[in-house]
Point group: C2
């Protein structure tokens, strides 16, 4: 059965991005520290056209995650990388380049209608103006038997949690504090119990898989 899942790196103080996000530094101050664990993995590097990298349980888990993806849903800001080109030029290409690492249809939540944007490597961005449930429905149809991944940002994940539309929350807990002013993943939510389904330890990070209890 196809599921809706997300997979995000957060700091120990709960942030997916640091303070002072700018177009040059869309992850905010220190935000790049959240993603270093992935950069060294073979599965991550292969997806981005790079050679080498570490093998092992972490890389295997990432490869499995990549393989399970049939479609992606993301917010406008995650597509555009910030407020810049997207706001001023509705034909801008986001910040993912000509060969984005998704290799599936990607459904971007936005208020600006726009024609689909087909790029190399199997990624086509579709722009959805009627909200998250509609985007998830289109993504499910596109994904077939594979899963729908919510790419982010935090507000999209929060919407999905609030609406009971998220089946799996994968968290990579990074041992860093990003400090006041960043973007918190789990903010403004109601009380909710989750089930811890899997933990993958690494020497430096902790990868956790939760399922919201319905």
């Amino acid at each position: 059965m196809s599921k809706v899942a997300c997979d995000l790196s957060i700091s120990l103080d709960g942030y997916v991005a640091g303070p002072n996000r700018t177009l040059e530094e869309p992850l905010g101050r220190g935000g790049e520290l959240l993603h270093q664990w992935a950069l060294r993995l073979r599965a991550f590097r292969a997806e981005h056209g790079l050679e080498g990298g570490d093998t092992g349980p972490e890389s295997d888990a990432l490869a499995e995650w990549q393989k399970s993806s049939g479609a992606v849903v993301m917010g406008r800001r995650m597509f555009s990388g910030g407020e810049g080109p997207w706001e001023s030029d509705p034909n801008a290409n986001g910040w993912w380049g000509d060969d984005p690492p998704f290799h599936t249809p990607v459904f971007v939540l936005t208020h600006h209608a726009r024609e689909p944007l087909e790029l190399s490597g199997g990624t086509t961005f579709f722009f959805v103006t009627d909200g998250l449930p509609a985007a998830l429905e289109q993504a499910r149809a596109a994904a077939g038997e594979r899963d729908v991944h919510i790419g982010g940002g935090a507000s999209v994940v929060q919407q999905a949690l609030r609406a009971g539309l998220l089946d799996e929350l994968n968290i990579h807990l990074v041992p860093v504090l990003l400090g006041t002013g960043g973007v918190r993943l789990l903010e403004g939510l109601e009380q909710m119990e989750l089930e811890l389904n899997a933990v993958t330890d690494s020497p430096e990070f902790t990868h956790l898989r939760y399922r919201p209890r319905s």
Copy 2:
């Protein structure tokens, strides 16, 4: 070498207490969910004079933690359990009863000078009016070769982190969201990297041991 450590249960959204804290419910709405993992462990039950309970790595880790404690430092609110009796009656006994589970000297940070309060089982509360560094110094002297444990609350842990006075941060990550309005453990801090030293998995919770990098 004696160290300063703390050990707290937090929700996945980072709270040590839920919203709407009252004298009757000092942990706030849902806050008791953070501590259920401990209640079932033999080491916890023994410390509180109860029989039975689960053995295994979690109970062993807790027993080791208890054994390492030579003195405790805590905030006023953790001593009093809220705003009530402590504010209105400076001779109030806190909410720990006649035989508190510390069995060591406990140094309470407060603005109200008060004579030490000696109770059964080896617990004596000392009241320190000149701040956290002074309290830690007294606690270190009392602890000898054993460790100083910061019991909480969140603001005392934050003070210690800010001042570089915390050697070890133990977190029990509980798969529940407590939602808006609770007390966050890691709030208002500067950017900081930590080292992940140990992970103890349980079927339901994740126990993490960090050391702030200096």
